[in-house]
Symmetry: C2
Subunit: 228 residues, 2 copies
């Protein structure tokens, strides 16, 4: 029973590495292209329902209020709900449906931005599929990778998903308005994040109350200033 | 750039199908073994932080109060936190750490239950890795597969994860005590579940307040009665 599996494993690894290398090359090309266009690209990763889309709606509104030109591509296994939510907020948005794949890849991003004049944009946001595992290995050409943990998920998630958290620059503790209702221990969560990913910047935000969003927008503006 | 990927895809599929077939055969053997031992096996799947472990703690306590003999195996990419939480509740519990793999497989379950006298147990619970994609294709030999959606994840998750929801028998709408605080629309969620998975039984539960747990325990007892 075990034999076919132990034979199979190395082949999967080999093929995966081939896929990853092609993805990395394409991601590098994309990043160069974004850079030349003066575009700052931010990707969001999280588990399902941590609130990426709602945060994105608020973030795009905050940047638009500062006259920044923004666009978004959003990934999901199925449905176009998220792109519709963003489009309803008046933002150029495109949906990538992965048809079962649990992460976005650089080629999907490239196809999604085709036809957009990148030089006319200041920010592009990429919302990955809601998954704390699969997106870890796929560079999407972004400048900044942001992980959302919602307070409703508990304090130990940073320790449970080491591969993904090790690829991120910023951790947002989301739905902070619910912290008290769910008995969320902020200090413990921050200790766990610091242990799992020491260099990550950590912010507490609530898309619903607006708490922490100013700091988040400032962070985006600062990081963009450094890159463009 | 695309060539190596399009060549590679069929090989991955082929190898995956080999893996799946071996897993299915082993899962069938496991199910036979569980059945012979008079053991009813329930697996729990959900996204990260939907509350599987806390529900499990309450479920095991509820069954123990009815003199049922219970045990649990819990899967995670890393950490043994969950097994510790269950063991603290006085339940035989073993942790499977998958080392990066985003789902459990039948062989991991077989290894985890080695040495337990299955004939002395009434229920075995298997808590899968927190992931709404990867566990879909892997039969673990369970009799009942239960999906938890937390009200904090939003109403549209049943439509966004079609492959997984199509493998489950029961959907628990979890953390129902937070429904009002997060503006959760129960009717919409139930419509979405019914659309995605018409035959699923749907229950609303809260591990914190105990709401709905009686119905959940009754469901477990009824299903076990039908199988043993």
């Amino acid at each position: 029973m075990d034999a076919p599996q132990s034979n199979a494993q190395p082949r999967i690894l080999e093929v995966r590495q081939g896929l990853l290398k092609a993805n990395d090359l394409l991601a590098r090309e994309l990043r160069d292209e974004f850079q030349r266009a003066g575009l700052f690209v931010v990707s969001l990763v999280s588990g399902p329902g941590a609130g990426k889309t709602e945060l994105l709606v608020q973030t795009l509104a905050g940047l638009a209020a500062r006259s920044r030109r923004v666009a978004a591509v959003v990934g999901d296994l199925a449905t176009e709900n998220d792109a519709r939510r963003l489009a309803a907020a008046g933002v150029p948005a495109r949906q990538i449906t992965t048809g079962g794949l649990c992460h976005l890849e650089a080629q999907m991003v490239r196809r999604a931005v085709e036809g957009w004049n990148l030089g006319e944009l200041d920010y592009l946001f990429i919302e990955n599929v809601g998954n704390l595992v699969c997106p870890a290995s796929f560079d999407l050409g972004e400048h900044l990778r942001v992980l959302l943990f919602s307070v409703t998920e508990g304090e130990d998630k940073p320790l449970k998903y080491p591969s993904l958290i090790n690829t991120v620059d910023v951790v947002l503790i989301a739905k902070i308005d619910l912290a008290e209702a769910v008995g969320f221990d902020r200090d413990l969560a921050r200790r766990n994040i610091a242990e799992a990913r020491p260099p990550a910047v950590v912010l507490e935000v609530s898309a619903r109350t607006g708490s922490g969003l100013d700091d988040w927008i400032k962070l985006l503006e600062n990081r963009r200033g450094l890159r463009t």
